[in-house]
Amino acid sequence: MWGKKSVMFNVSNLTVSVEDNEILKSFSLDVGPGEVHAIMGPNGSGKSTLAHVCAGKEDYTVLNGEINLNGEDLLDLEADERSTRGLFLAFQYPIEIPGVTTLTFLKSSLEAHYKANNREVLSTPDFMKLVKKKAAELNIDDSMIKRPLNVGFSGGEKKRNEILQMALLDPQICILDETDSGLDIDALRLVAEGVNNLRNEKRSFVVITHYQRLLDYIKPDFVHIMYNGKIIETGDSSLALELEKSGYNNYIK
């Protein structure tokens, strides 16, 4: 509607359990195009669970609620379909796949996206050019992408590899689950630059983090505090600064 803020990605009243424990409790979040939302919250509050459920991981029972991307309910879709619709999750703990080189994996992934969106698949030389360019921007060298996916990668290499994939897949909504943890200062800046380069008026981000430091680089439009399966406080970037000073105790009732 004119004048009213439009919503591109939204989670409403999402209630999710794992093995009879309710982890998300009527969780809601609206994300408009081009917005960056930061979610902070103590360990175990359900941040990764939210990220996994949005991406379509199977071990969870969704008791109630909806997840919409561009007006389409994602809950009926498989993980791969959500991905090709434009949802990207940078994993807190990226998974290792022995035997499959990073390059082969990236190619399969990109081809799956192109096919699903009826785009012509890139030729191998064009694909190589694209990967090399994006990898160079993240200071990822050629030898790394020739190694099996995430196998023996350092913590920081794994995270940069996640951002490389995000840059290649051109997603609409990016959920970053603690992408900053385990990064040294230079890598943090590179990753943040990578994210900032992808920011535009259409693409949105949900950035899960424990540290305000990342938010110095990636300026969020909103900061949410998540506790016990739902958002208990929302503010602007000053909220993160305040949390850094005084901790969660002031907000947890």
């Binding site: 991981k57 071990d59 993980a79 791969d80 959500r82 796949i97 022995p98 994996f105």
Partner: protein
């Protein structure tokens, strides 16, 4: 449903509805009297116009067979085979031997066309199809061999074993059963008695065979065993790459395939032998399918010779197969690269033997077993060194990948050293495709089926790389199909 559970279900569902070679060809055939008797053997030998020595050779094998027992040590289970219910010879009528392409029954040509086997030399020469000479064996007989003339210009003999017995008796008598004695084992004795056809290759000294040689086996007739015999001889300083492919129609009864393959590499010669075995594996409940009881052995007879086996095993209900190398010549090299995929109720007991007899001999074994469904997949390997085999070297790598938790994988390595200078290394791993891996692939847009194919192909990459180009692509696809059947 968690991803892996779902995968397991999908793999279950696929069964063999996706076995794309399951159709059969209607042809008038001629068969031997049912059952296994001396009469059957005489019939086969007569049918093939064999010389007297060959008949005697067969009858001798039959006598030995009668005194032998079926082996029971393999990790496979199947009902006893009744040899009196089975036909030992079946041939398309009017096919007494390989002919020129123009004379071959068009139905047969269509069959091979449907299987994607290039028989038309014209097309191959004009570059439409890849550069391969083919011997096509249909049930008990070779129906056509391509590029014979072109190869004979270089002195290379590539023909059916039946022709070789008639046209090159000196070579056949010298080498046949020189690697695998008739009474080596139960099935080799059976094969020696009743073998019906197969391929013969002789590469003369210092000749590099200019094209891939290939035999394509097709079992078509019902209740018929296929007993082929292959003999490959690489004379001094020669090289040959040989491919073998096989398929069979989908039938409810089990059918027996008991082949014998012998390779001889003389001084400085090299033989590369690749197999893509895709016999009908039976349906999703384990009904039907081929019993594949095969004896394959290569003899590195001369100094510096090399024999390399590469196999991709995806078919058959029961597989019992150990392509081996006798490293007789000093400095000779043996290699075994294997991918064995079992699904549904398939049972595989396969591996190799590397027998080090000469000095400075070396061998390498790379085995990749993939089990899904309710299948059982065993690697059985022997590495041994003789007292004389100074500095024998072996490296063995055995990896198993499990999909789901109703299947099993077993590794049974035997090591025997009689020489203190031998160095034998063995590494083994077992892994599973995890839900997390499937989810990660899914998050990047790769669906379950493609994710499994991707992971499995990554798992067996080292072996796929050993296949000749044309085969590698085919095999890679086959790996995908036998596990998830997404491609029709």
């Amino acid at each position: 449903m968690p991803a892996v559970k779902e995968t397991v279900k999908q793999v279950d569902d696929i069964g063999v509805d996706k076995y794309k070679f399951g159709w059969s060809t209607d042809l008038e055939t001629e068969t031997a009297p049912i059952g296994l008797t001396e009469e059957t053997i005489r019939f086969i030998s007569k049918k093939k116009n064999e010389p007297e020595w060959m008949l005697e050779w067969r009858l001798d094998a039959y006598q030995r067979f009668l005194s032998m027992k079926e082996p029971e040590w393999a990790k496979v289970n199947y009902p006893a085979i009744n040899y009196n219910d089975m036909y030992f010879y079946s041939a398309p009528k009017d096919t007494d031997g390989p002919k020129s392409l123009e004379e071959v029954d068009p139905e047969l040509l269509k069959t091979y066309d449907k299987l994607g086997i290039p028989l038309k030399e014209q097309e191959i020469l004009s570059g439409v199809k890849s550069n391969i000479a083919v011997d096509a064996v249909f049930d008990s007989v070779s129906v056509v061999t391509t590029f014979k003339e072109k190869l004979s210009e270089e002195g290379i003999i590539f023909c059916s074993i039946s022709e070789a017995i008639k046209d090159h008796p000196e070579l056949v008598r010298k080498y046949l059963s020189s690697v695998i004695p008739k009474s080596d084992n139960y099935y080799s004795a059976l094969n020696s008695a009743v073998f019906t056809d197969g391929s013969f290759v002789y590469i003369p000294p210092n000749t590099r065979c200019p094209m891939e040689l290939s035999t394509y086996f097709r079992i078509n007739a019902e209740n018929t065993g296929q007993f082929e015999r292959t003999l490959v001889i690489a004379d001094k300083g020669s090289y040959v790459s040989y491919l073998e492919g096989c398929t069979a129609p989908q039938r409810d009864e089990n059918q027996l395939h008991a082949a014998v393959v012998e390779l001889v590499a003389l001084e400085n010669a090299e033989i590369k032998y690749s197999t893509v075995q895709n016999w009908y594996p039976g349906d999703e409940n384990g009904v039907g399918g081929i019993y594949n009881f095969v004896t394959k052995r290569g003899d590195c007879r001369g100094k510096n010779s090399k024999i390399s086996w590469t196999q991709v095993e995806t078919g058959s209900a029961v597989t019992w197969k150990y392509p081996s190398c006798i490293l007789r010549g000093d400095n000779s090299v043996g290699e075994f690269y294997s991918i064995a995929i079992s699904n549904s109720y398939q049972q595989i007991d396969s591996g190799t033997k590397m027998v080090h007899l000469g000095k400075n001999t070396s061998s390498k074994i790379i085995s990749k077993g993939i089990s899904a469904g309710h299948s059982s997949n065993a690697y059985r390997g022997l590495v041994s060194s003789h007292r004389r085999a100074e500095n024998a070297r072996n490296f063995t790598q055995c990896d198993s990948l499990l999909i789901g938790n109703k299947c099993s994988a077993h590794t049974v390595p035997y090591i025997e050293t009689k020489n203190s200078t031998s160095v034998f290394e063995h590494e083994a791993t077992t892994s599973k495709i995890s839900d997390d891996q499937i989810f990660y692939c899914g998050q990047r847009g790769i669906n379950i089926e493609d994710a499994i194919a991707l992971i499995v192909n990554g798992f067996c990459k080292e072996v796929l790389q050993e296949l000749p180009m044309e085969f590698a692509v085919e095999a890679q696809k086959l790996v995908g199909i036998s596990l998830e059947g997404s491609v029709g």
